[in-house]
Symmetry: C2
Subunit: 416 residues, 2 copies
C-alpha cells in the first residue's frame, strides 16, 4: 500500500470552530518533542498554567488542559463534581445544553432541565426561580451556544449560586478568548474552554479551571491509581470515587502539581500549540482581542444586512463570535454551503436539530477573525446567492463592511 | 506578561515513550487545518481507518483513534464493553495491569485479578485455568508491560476466550508498530495502540480496533446524543447505556462512519500526525519494522552486557522495544538519569512502584530506535557510571554494539 503525501487545500474557515490556526501555532507544533518529566517540559506545563489563569481572569490554583477535545474537558469537570444522585439544574437554550444534560445523566445525576426556545436566552431571574424550586447542588450551563449564536449573561446566576452554596459549572468553549469570561468576578466555580475556537489552536485540548470549592469536592472523592499508589493511599480510597480514571481531576492535579505523579503522557505537541496560542493572545491583550472580535462582527453584520439577509436570534443575546443568518425561503441551505466550499474555498456552518437547514452560522473566531476573511465570505455568499437566483442587494454587502472598516472613529482602521 | 519564544532542547529520547517523533510527522503537523466535515478531511479520516487496519493486521470494520492519550483509548474500550456487574478477569504482571483493574472497577465491573511477580509473565495455561475457575465475561490484559519490559504471549489465551465466548481486550500500547500484534489471528476482540511509542507520533491519540463481537455489545447499549438524536432514536435509548459520553464507541462509530454524526471536533493536526506516522510505517513495512526493532535491541543488549551490567526480567518474555537494567548495588538510580539528561541530553527511564530505583528502562521505539541513539546511550551510560565510581568494563559497551552492527550476516548493516 502506498499513500500520497499529505496534501490538503487552503481554506478560509468561517465556522464556529475549528477556526483557522495561527501560523505561529502551526510552527510551534513542528518543534521536536521532549520527555514528559524533562524539566524543559515541566517548565512549559507550569507556564501554561500561569497563562491559563490570565486567560480565565482567575486567581484559581488549578488551571490546566485535559488531553482531548473540548467535550473531554466538560466531561472531566462534570464527572469529577457529580456524585451519583446529585441534583443538577441544566438550563438549555441549544444543542450544547443538551450535551450537558446528557453527560450529567451518564454520571448518575438527577437532572432538572429548564428550556427556552433556540435563539433566545434566559432571564437570570427565571433561572434563580428554578434554583429555588428545584434546590440543586450543581447548576451547569453553557455560556455561548454556538448552535444558536446566543450568549447567556452569567453574573447574577453565579452570585445566586454562590449565596446558596451551589456549584456553578460553565461551558465557555465558544467564548473564552473571544469575549469576556470573568471567572472569579462572576462566581463561576468550574469552567471549560476550547482550543479550536477563539484560541486558534487545533482541536485536541480542553483548558479548564476550577476553584477551591470544586477542589474540596474532588478531594472528598480521592483515589490514587493502583500500581503507583502508596499502601497508605490504597487504604484511604474514597467510596464515592470518580467514575472515570481519565477524567479524574484529582489525579490530573497530582500530575500537574508538584507531586508530578504520572497519569497520562501529556500531549507534547498539542501543549506546545496551546502555549503559543496563549502567548499570542496575551501579547495581543485580552481587552484588545475582545474589541477585535466585536469590531469584525460589526462589519460582518453590516454586510449581511446590506445584502438584504436577516439575522437569526435574540439581538441582545448575540454571541459576538458567531453570526447566524436565516436561510431565505426556498433556498437549499446545504447547497449554498457546498458551492461556497467548492467554488471559493470558504467554509461556513449549518446548525443542528431543529435549526438544520434553517440557518447558516458564520464564525469570526481568533485568527479567522480578520478583515480579508469577512470581506471574502460576504463577497462569495452574495455571488452564490445570485447564482442560485436569490434576490439580494447586489454589491452592497462588501461596501457596507468596507464602510465599517474605513470609518475613522473605530479603533481598528483598515490598515490594522 | 511576556513569554519567550518556545525554545526546547534537542534530546535523545530512549525511554519507553514518548519516543522521538519522526521529522516528517512534525512537518505534517504544521499543515494548515481544514474543517472537520470538509471532504478533504473526511477523506483523511477514511484513509487513516484503512491504514490502521493494516497496522493491526485485521479485517475489522472499526479502526480509528480516540482523541486523547493512550489511556483514553483503553478507557473507551473498557467503558464501552463493561456493563455494571460484568465479571472481568485481569491478569496483572506490572503497573499497567493495575491500570486495567482500576478502570474496570471504575466502570462497575466485578474484577477478578491474578498476579505474577513483576519481571515475569504468565503461562497461558495458568490464565486458562483461572478463566475456568472464575467464568468471566471479559478478559482484559496488557500485551507489553513497559513498567517491567515484559511481553505476554496472547494467542492461546485469545483462542481460549473465543471458544468460551468471552471478550478478549488487550492493551497493546507499547507493542503495536514495534513487534507482532496479530489481532485477528490471536482472536483479540478489542485492542488499543499508542501513538507516542513505536509509531513515533506525539502523545495525544489512541488508535484502537474492535470486531463485530464488540460492536454487537456496543449496539446493545446504544444511545444517541440529546440535541442531535431523532425522536425515534430518543425512544430507543438503552437502559444500560455507556457511562461516558466521550468514550461511547457507539457514538464514535456514528462520527467515523458514513453517518458522520457530529460527536467531538476531530483533533485535526494530531490526525495529520497519525496519518504521516502510519504512512512511514507502511512504507517501511511491518515485518521490516519489527526486524529493525529486534536488530537494535540485540545491539543494545550486547552493549549492556559488555559493560558488565545485568538485565532485569524473565529472558524469554523480554519485550523487544524496552530493555530493563538492574541498577548496580549502591548506585543512586535517579542521579545517573539526571546526569545523562543534563550532561548528555539523553533521557532514559526509571520505573514505578516496587521497581522504582531498582531498574533503568531503555526504550528503542520507532524513530528513537536507531544505531546512533543506541551507541550514544551506551557510551554516555558508561561514562556516567565511571564518573560515579561504578566498576564497569571500560570501552566494551560500544564495541560490543558495534560488533553487532558490523557483522556481515545481519540484515541491517552499519550503512543501513
Amino acid at each position: 500500500m502506498t499513500y500520497r503525501d499529505l496534501n490538503t487545500p487552503i481554506r478560509t474557515i468561517m465556522t464556529p470552530g475549528p477556526a483557522e490556526v495561527d501560523p505561529r501555532v502551526l510552527r510551534a507544533m513542528a518543534t521536536p518533542v521532549v520527555g514528559q518529566f524533562d524539566p524543559a517540559f515541566t517548565d512549559i506545563m507550569n507556564e501554561v498554567m500561569e497563562m491559563l489563569r490570565a486567560l480565565f481572569q482567575t486567581k484559581n490554583k488549578w488551571a490546566f488542559p485535559v488531553d482531548g477535545t473540548s467535550r473531554s474537558g466538560i466531561e472531566a469537570m462534570l464527572a469529577s463534581v457529580i456524585r451519583p444522585g446529585d441534583r443538577v439544574l441544566v438550563p438549555v437554550y441549544g444543542r450544547f445544553g443538551h450535551l450537558l444534560m446528557e453527560i450529567c445523566e451518564r454520571y448518575g445525576a438527577e437532572v432538572e432541565a429548564v428550556y427556552t426556545e433556540w435563539g433566545t436566552v434566559f432571564e437570570p431571574a427565571e433561572i434563580i426561580r428554578k434554583i429555588e424550586e428545584t434546590k440543586p447542588s450543581i447548576v451547569a450551563m453553557v455560556h455561548a451556544e454556538t448552535s444558536t449564536g446566543c450568549m447567556q449573561t452569567l453574573k447574577k446566576i453565579g452570585h445566586a449560586c454562590r449565596e446558596r452554596d451551589i456549584l456553578f459549572i460553565v461551558d465557555a468553549v465558544a467564548s473564552v478568548g473571544g469575549t469576556e469570561v470573568r471567572v472569579d468576578e462572576w462566581c463561576i466555580d468550574g469552567v471549560i474552554a476550547g482550543t479550536q475556537k477563539c484560541l486558534s489552536v487545533p482541536s485536541g485540548m480542553a483548558p479548564l479551571t476550577y476553584n477551591d470549592r470544586v477542589e474540596k469536592r474532588i478531594a472528598s472523592r480521592k483515589k490514587t491509581e493502583r500500581g503507583i499508589a502508596t499502601e497508605e493511599e490504597l487504604k484511604q480510597q474514597s467510596d464515592i470515587f470518580i467514575r472515570s480514571n481519565y477524567f479524574d481531576l484529582g489525579m490530573l492535579q497530582d500530575y500537574w502539581g508538584p507531586r508530578r505523579l504520572n497519569h497520562h503522557t501529556e500531549a507534547t505537541s498539542m501543549l506546545y500549540a496551546l502555549r503559543e496560542g496563549l502567548r499570542i493572545l496575551l501579547e495581543e491583550g485580552l481587552e484588545e482581542r475582545f474589541e477585535r472580535h466585536a469590531f469584525h462582527e460589526k462589519a460582518l453584520i453590516a454586510g449581511i444586512k446590506g445584502m438584504g439577509l436577516e439575522l437569526f436570534g435574540q439581538k441582545e443575546a448575540k454571541l459576538p463570535t458567531v453570526t447566524c443568518i436565516k436561510v431565505p425561503e426556498g433556498v437549499e441551505a446545504d447547497s449554498v454551503r457546498s458551492m461556497l466550499l467548492e467554488g471559493f474555498g470558504i467554509e461556513i456552518a449549518s446548525s443542528f436539530g431543529p435549526l438544520h437547514g434553517k440557518i447558516w452560522r458564520i464564525g469570526t473566531m481568533g485568527y479567522s477573525c480578520r478583515r480579508e476573511n469577512v470581506l471574502a465570505v460576504l463577497g462569495a455568499l452574495e455571488a452564490v446567492l445570485i447564482r442560485q437566483g436569490v434576490p439580494v442587494n447586489r454589491g452592497e454587502a462588501v461596501q457596507a463592511a468596507l464602510d465599517c472598516y474605513m470609518k475613522p472613529a473605530v479603533k481598528a482602521p483598515i490598515e490594522a
